[in-house]
């Protein structure tokens, strides 16, 4: 494969990752499986992928600026892996956090009602 083909392939891969992450986060937000703050985090984390997809030479530019010898695809793959892992973990955290909050609210309301009943009982006696 020549260099142009490789560049196009990289653009497609990066665009694909950007689109998949965006769709996954939006779908999870609509289904209440991901909290808003994590959606924002993931969308902002995914922005570099979109940037490099639209500007493939950006990786080379960064290589020159940061004086890294080789901008390897492996680095990108590792980044994508961590991004997806983070996404899954944040989805779990979001759902569990909401459940814990609900539980805390219900317990607090129940304790308040019990206190009121106890007070009413002691006043009556």
């Amino acid at each position: 494969m020549n260099l142009d083909t490789l560049l196009h392939l990289r653009t497609l891969i990066l665009l694909g990752v950007a689109v998949v992450i965006t769709l996954l986060t939006i779908r999870s937000l609509r289904a209440q499986r991901l909290k808003e703050r994590y959606v924002l985090l993931l969308l902002f984390t995914g922005l570099p992928f979109l940037l490099f997809a639209l500007w493939p030479n950006g990786v080379v530019f960064l290589q020159n600026v940061l004086e890294i010898e080789k901008p390897t695809l492996l680095t990108l793959c590792v980044a994508i892996y961590f991004l997806l892992t983070t996404f899954i973990l944040l989805s779990i955290v979001s759902v569990q956090e909401r459940k814990i909050d609900q539980l805390a609210q219900i317990i607090a309301i129940s304790q308040s009602s019990n206190r009121s009943e106890t007070d009413a009982g002691s006043n009556a006696s």
Partner: protein
Amino acid sequence: MPTDPASPRLLIIIPAHNEAGSIASVVQEVRRCLPGADVLVVDDASTDRTAQEVPADAAVVRLPFNLGIGGAMQTGYRYAAMHGYDVAVQVDGDGQHPPAEVSKLLDAMREKNADLIIGSRFLQRDGYLPPASRMLGIRVIRHLINLCTRVGITDPTSGFRAANRRVIHAYAYWYPDDYPEPEVILLLHRAGFRVAEASVVMEERLAGVTSIPFLHGLFYVAKVSAALLLDLIRNPWPAERIAPP
């Protein structure tokens, strides 16, 4: 409780976090101005004596850990839904929302046949107004909301609000965590609820510190704007899940 069976059952919800210095006077003022209403203080895991300072004739819900303003308010609305209240009014525990102004919210709710009434400081511009820097942030959020809803809200960050039974049940089902005041306007409008405003006068806080420090204001506006854009693609209140019993 109101003795007239035609009167709506009214609950005043006061979220409080470390408001020991002002909570007693706020509750007493509510009691004096609204003798027919029930009062609920939601103590969001205060580290001071907030819960102990609440007068005995008000109910207190003490959260076991800090849930933030969204979680504390949802607790109040969940309580209102569980106990069958018709209207719930949100009044800050720092004394900024004069209880005497609650009647304006209730009148506007009746006259405008609205599901949610927001007390606006800017319709008549009387009383305490926020500093210029904060006004700028409010203006940005206001334009963004009005661009999306065309409702013409002037005070989207005001926490002085009255909600009817439909909204109480919607909030009990789901309520935003991070930036509830501006977000619910957009979300309620998209879900088909009627949102309107009433002119109210607010006061300076009696004690405590604001939950949005000055230096975080710019960051707050950016985050709220991003959150509002996300709100355009979701509907957290499916009609079949939030109908009052």
